[in-house]
Symmetry: C2
Subunit: 309 residues, 2 copies
């Protein structure tokens, strides 16, 4: 096989109390990559569609090609690779756009090398590409895009990534208002110190969220989906955040928050009908604030990036 097509899902990182440690994948939207082995040495970006011409075709600057190059270095192969990238995730939205491109490219190249590495082993190569996308090699988008489900990044020294064996069946609403935030800017507003009290509250919520997800206790999931550290500051970027969060809960969402570093908001619900109602609430709210938005409703993606052709 010389050519393969892979779709890798959008992801929600910074899941409320799980700031910087917890992410999950959703069924849609997905970025797609067609990867072809060629006789010309080197990794090249052959084409990018769906990005409005905003992403660089330079191989050293695109997360898909950087990830593939890191992979090839690791397995000590030097074949030629041509990458066609079909962007379906909006850029700078907080839905793990750069991570999805890297995850798709990695699953593709790995398939062409007979799955020489495991999904978990691909994570470090995707992290390398995150470094060029947002300045730090974080794993909380790439890991769920590769593994699916809820993924805990317990720590980085050494890297410790755990796919959480959840029982809860959840539907996710993503609503992306058309304003762009850079992860770097969104990170800059965070304070380097926090109160011990807030740290304990966050920790209690994180423990509660894990127990809720693993024991299918939806009430507990709802009570635990609170972020007292990043959200109070980052939500200032999103017009009427507190108000719309309350409206989402009134509409039946278990909880909601900022996806990644925003501006996309996510909500988790127990069923599709509620998740769709919540999507309408979010869209209406953004419209009232003179913002166009698009929304997606899907189940949690349990398997991560997959070969589609």
């Amino acid at each position: 096989m010389k050519k393969v097509k892979v779709a890798a899902p959008a992801t929600v990182a910074n899941v409320c109390c799980g700031f910087d440690i917890l992410g999950f994948a959703v069924d849609a939207p997905c970025d797609e990559v067609v990867l072809t082995l060629t006789d010309t040495p080197g990794v090249t970006m052959k084409s990018i569609t769906g990005d409005g011409g905003r992403l660089p075709l330079e191989a050293g600057k695109n997360t898909a090609s950087v990830a593939v190059q890191s992979y090839l270095n690791a397995i000590q192969e030097s074949t030629g690779v041509a990458i066609e990238l079909i962007k379906k995730l909006p850029l700078g939205s907080g839905m793990g756009s750069s991570a999805a491109s890297a995850a798709a490219a990695l699953v593709a190249i790995n398939a062409l090398f007979d799955d020489r590495l495991s999904r978990s082993e691909l994570i470090v190569h995707a992290m390398e590409s995150e470094r060029i996308a947002c300045g730090s090699a974080h794993a909380d988008n790439v890991a769920p895009s590769l593994l699916g489900g809820f993924v805990l990044v317990r720590g980085y020294a050494p890297l410790d990534v755990i796919k959480v064996p959840i029982k809860a069946k959840l539907f996710c609403t993503l609503a992306h208002p058309h304003l762009e935030l850079k992860t770097e800017d969104s990170r800059k507003v965070l304070k380097p110190t926090i109160s011990l009290k807030d740290a304990i509250t966050q920790n209690g919520n994180t423990a509660g969220l894990m127990v809720g997800l693993m024991s299918e206790d939806y009430e507990l999931i709802g009570r635990s989906l609170q972020d007292v550290i990043a959200e109070p500051i980052r939500s200032l970027f999103i017009p009427g955040f507190d108000q719309v969060r309350n409206l989402c809960k009134e509409a039946g969402a278990l909880g909601c928050g900022i996806s990644g570093s925003g501006p996309t908001m996510f909500a988790l619900s127990k069923d599709q009908h509620t998740a769709e109602k919540v999507g309408q609430v979010l869209k209406a709210h953004f419209a009232k604030n003179n913002l166009n938005s698009d929304s997606h409703v899907s189940q949690i993606n349990l398997d991560g990036a997959k070969i589609i052709g």
Copy 2:
């Protein structure tokens, strides 16, 4: 029935990364309470043994009697109650001594009133008694002593106590060096602010510990049993803490830390043999530092306080 005898277990609060939110109960040691309904109105402490004469017989100052009075107020009963308290837990040791006395007394009085309240409903009355014992109405000792197992105190406003459905089978070593620490003093040394980085590390470990306990992943439990917030400061009260923690791990413990606010140290192991070896390591270490100590090895207590006569 006019008389009942109840045993309530020692507990480990502040379980490493679960500082202020997580506690568990052990099979031994237990405080015992003999509670008798009398015709003389009022709650009285009839006798206390095993405390070396250090605990007050004044009803308003003993956690057992305070808890019972709070219970009677709640159910609007005004019977006479005489309490005999048999202390088996060392005072000021960090093993939840005051909590065990209160838990035993509450399960006893509740039994004599046909279990009018659930175990969970008893927690607030035990918390009232903690206020007189250590200045704050915390739940992380009383809740596991009443409910058994690992208990998460997600938050206090409102009180949210969750018995964690763990799968892991664990043995606990408790080693109590004969030096006394007051919870208040131990709390005073903590700083009111911490770094965001440490908060994230703690949060990752807490999530990892929950996943490990619930999915029976002992390696993950071991990696997650770390406290970067309280332990680095509080461990200064315990001679050679870092050294003996490493020795415990070398002896096979999954992890270890300070029980409650110390000075007792606890370790968790996968089997009894290892837990006993770890107890010897701890005792030898304390002896080398000219401290007498006693140690206990037991399984996690899954049911909490129980009627024994």
